[in-house]
Symmetry: C2
């Protein structure tokens, strides 16, 4: 084993030259350099430094509560009861909140959310998840043994990839991911040493999936690796589209024909805003295609407490359901998750409440529905507003935000700005977003952090800021874009 000369001088073991090179290849734009600079600017503002703005507006991450969205009262009541069961003796909470808390606590070791749960998740929570999936999918059966609670959806996705990825050289596992993608995927693939196989979403057709693109991407990949899995994010992140039923059918037929393991990231399943759009779960469509597909195609689908109307990112709750997984492999999956003991129990409790929310006739039902509807309506409004205002800007083209929490508009950048960016060693849209941040305090993530067709530029912007701030943000982006275009023309 070689010692680098600088190790000897500094007498340390772990240097940039000796560390795991796969970790060095990891990139995660959503919390990358632009966000670090935004945090620095916030600190500068607090310290009294003069800027052309008084606050940083962060539209870089799907973090609803940080943007002022209020938690669902019922959820938080039950969580408080689970944390401090003495509160069950008080008269301040509705009976349905108390019942949910009692049921969860009864399922916990020693009646405490401080005990480890089963590694796959608390039994009754997995049963509730199974019932929820059956209701959602019009009765398609769901076996709680196929449900695994997770530490957010990210944890489930990485766990599935760990099972799939192996091999070296031409037999290295390839995993197909959409471009633009959510960078958890590229980061996990880099860390695991898998081949990232890109397929491009069709921006002209509202970020839909093209069968011909999937086919050519796969054919190309097969020349140098072993593609095993196909990942889909629906509703889309960062692109905000909602895939049509037809498209999902096509993808399933493609996966069956080409023998690919499907991974469906469906964490935005309640975030559908556009007229005529509807969420179709991959599982439901799979079963509607009949036993030729439903008995054979392997599918893992992922959900989370972090998005939809609840936006409870901090609790790191989630689940995955696996379908048609080989029994021996599933035993390996169960063993693998046991090493990390269990997902956080408060997150499991929250996941339970999401799939087992107050029902008609229960005391909390009306308030719950009011809060849920208000949040989703507001998001729908902001989705529309974002699309409309961005499309008034010459040089910005924005697809409808049909779902999820993001717009991913195409931005025309003047040649001179592209040259200047390249001279600085920056991606042109990173240069654009950095300038936007410095001049306006608005924090967006450049399209290059998600991937995009060569020669096109984008940014991802969440629709989460409160309406008044969102309007300011959009007006500032408009003004900035015009100024930037002029400046570099």
């Amino acid at each position: 084993h070689a010692h680098q000369p600088n190790d000897v001088i500094r007498k340390i073991v772990l240097t940039i030259d000796t560390m795991n090179p796969r970790v060095k290849n990891v990139e995660y734009a959503v919390r990358g350099p632009i966000v670090q600079r935004a945090m620095q600017i916030e600190k500068e503002l607090r310290e009294g430094l003069k800027k052309p703005f008084t606050e940083v507006i962060k539209a870089n991450i799907g973090d609803a509560h940080a943007m002022g969205q209020q938690p669902i009262t019922f959820f938080r009541q039950v969580l408080a009861l689970c944390s401090y069961p003495e509160l069950l003796n008080e008269n301040m909470f509705p009976e349905d909140a108390k019942n949910r808390a009692r049921r969860i606590l009864h399922a916990c070791g020693g009646g405490s959310v401080g005990a480890y749960s089963a590694s796959q998740g608390i039994d009754c929570v997995r049963q509730d998840v199974a019932c929820y999936i059956e209701r959602r999918d019009g009765g398609v059966p769901c076996d709680p043994d196929n449900v695994y609670l997770t530490t957010g959806a990210s944890d489930g996705i990485v766990t599935m990839l760990k099972l799939l990825v192996c091999g070296e050289g031409a037999s290295r596992t390839g995993v197909m991911i959409s471009i633009p993608q959510y960078p958890l995927y590229s980061a996990a693939l880099a860390e695991l040493g898998a081949v990232q196989v890109n397929y491009y979403l069709n921006e002209e057709k509202c970020w839909s999936m093209d069968l011909s693109e999937l086919e050519s991407s796969l054919a190309e990949a097969r020349k140098h690796c072993n593609p095993k899995a196909l990942c889909i994010i629906n509703p889309g992140n960062p692109t905000g589209q909602v895939q049509s039923r037809q498209c999902i059918e096509d993808v399933i037929r493609f996966a069956a024909k080409e023998r690919l393991f499907l991974m469906a990231d469906e964490v935005y399943q309640d975030n559908v805003y556009a007229e005529g759009c509807q969420f179709h779960s991959f599982k439901k469509v799979l079963f509607e295609l009949g036993p030729e597909y439903s008995d054979n195609v392997e599918l893992a689908s992922f959900h989370s407490t972090s998005k939809c109307y609840m936006g409870e990112c901090g609790f790191r709750g989630g689940y995955m359901e696996v379908i048609n997984m080989d029994a021996e492999v599933q035993a390996q999956l169960s063993k693998l998750v046991s090493v990390r003991l269990c997902p956080p129990v408060p997150g499991q409790a929250l996941m339970d409440l999401v799939v087992n929310s107050p029902q008609p006739g229960e005391p909390s039902h009306i308030t719950f529905m009011k809060e849920r509807t208000a949040t989703l309506s507001l998001l729908a409004e902001k989705a529309k507003l974002t699309e409309q205002i961005l499309n008034t800007v010459p040089g910005i083209t924005c697809n409808p935000v049909q779902g999820a929490m993001y717009s991913f508009p195409n931005i025309s950048l003047p040649e001179k700005s592209i040259k200047e960016a390249k001279a600085l060693g920056q991606a042109p849209d990173m240069f654009y977003c950095m300038n936007l941040l410095e001049e306006t305090g608005i924090c967006l993530v450049p399209g290059s952090g998600f991937g995009q067709k060569d020669g096109t530029y984008h940014f991802r912007m969440t629709i989460l800021p409160p309406t008044d701030k969102l309007k300011i943000l959009l007006a500032k982006v408009k003004e900035f874009h015009q100024k930037f275009t002029q400046q570099y023309s």
Copy 2:
């Protein structure tokens, strides 16, 4: 890429033959086959099946609340306040609990524990951790920038190993771990493809570390891999020893001389029971050895909310502190943790309370101290009781349980039972523990799940059951051991 014939028949992608072989190599005894059988037996008992016992007593895992330990009132009050801040308006909570909750909420995005935190953890929590470490270590400075909050200690340990492990063939990274070990280490090393380098603890000297053993283990390992790191668990899991200050000094000097990155798993730092034993943090000893060591030796130390007097495993809270880490590597670490967004925020809040507990003069201080002391005194009693009773059994030899939560007694097994186990393809102590479980309902983990010297046999038993149950458990173990010895003699 080769298709296995059975893949074609079953038309599935992911089989035991095509999956990641590293995952197949993972083993985790603490939740292994014996625990699965215990859960099955519990189900059988519920269904009315007759057994020679009426309940399963689980002493397989360090899960205090599951064994009836009560949570610390103050911690749970603050967690309830954080979950449902409306409670701040009620008069039912002490002012110090409200103040802690307000401080934590103020540090959360949008004032909600449902927002993502910074990936490294909430700023003020990391500051509180740093103050705690400074107090604990008699003023040795701690920089909050070197503190990373984690999803339990396991998460921190795996993250550090990810940075360290790389290479193929003779340059594969080797990581030294104690035998017996906590099987998270072997599991993580298997998954990452590192070489597990065993060093044996000295059972005759109460599971202490021998310098000569470290030296010979390292010399041997250097013939076929690149040993980079040395892991220590102190107080010990599964062996319950507390390392002396001298021993820690020796280990640090050894790491410095041999240029090994130190990983100190110190999650049991408050669990020290034996007269004359004291917890010495690796960091404190490192700094007391002077700048030759404190400026050079790289150390990561790990703590958690799951053990000590709080036992809050379900919240998955923890932190790690890194010392003398190369700045570029630390930037990579910060990037790596950002991919998983953040540790669970309720677990971060709980970690904050552990390091910033009620102080003299605060309204909750007396109750807090009473609860803390009662729990630790009871554990000390049970540690003593376990050692004493086990040592009355002919054929069982138990070292003092100086700390942590486990005894790891040596058991003599009759030759005939060893033969019978081998005929069944089982480790002899697995055969023993399985028989114990079937006959008495007691669930222990065989020593083979942790590693032990060839030809010796052990089991790990937690000291956590309530005293009355612990006494029954120990009496049953005694009776069983005598019967088993007779039966196979």
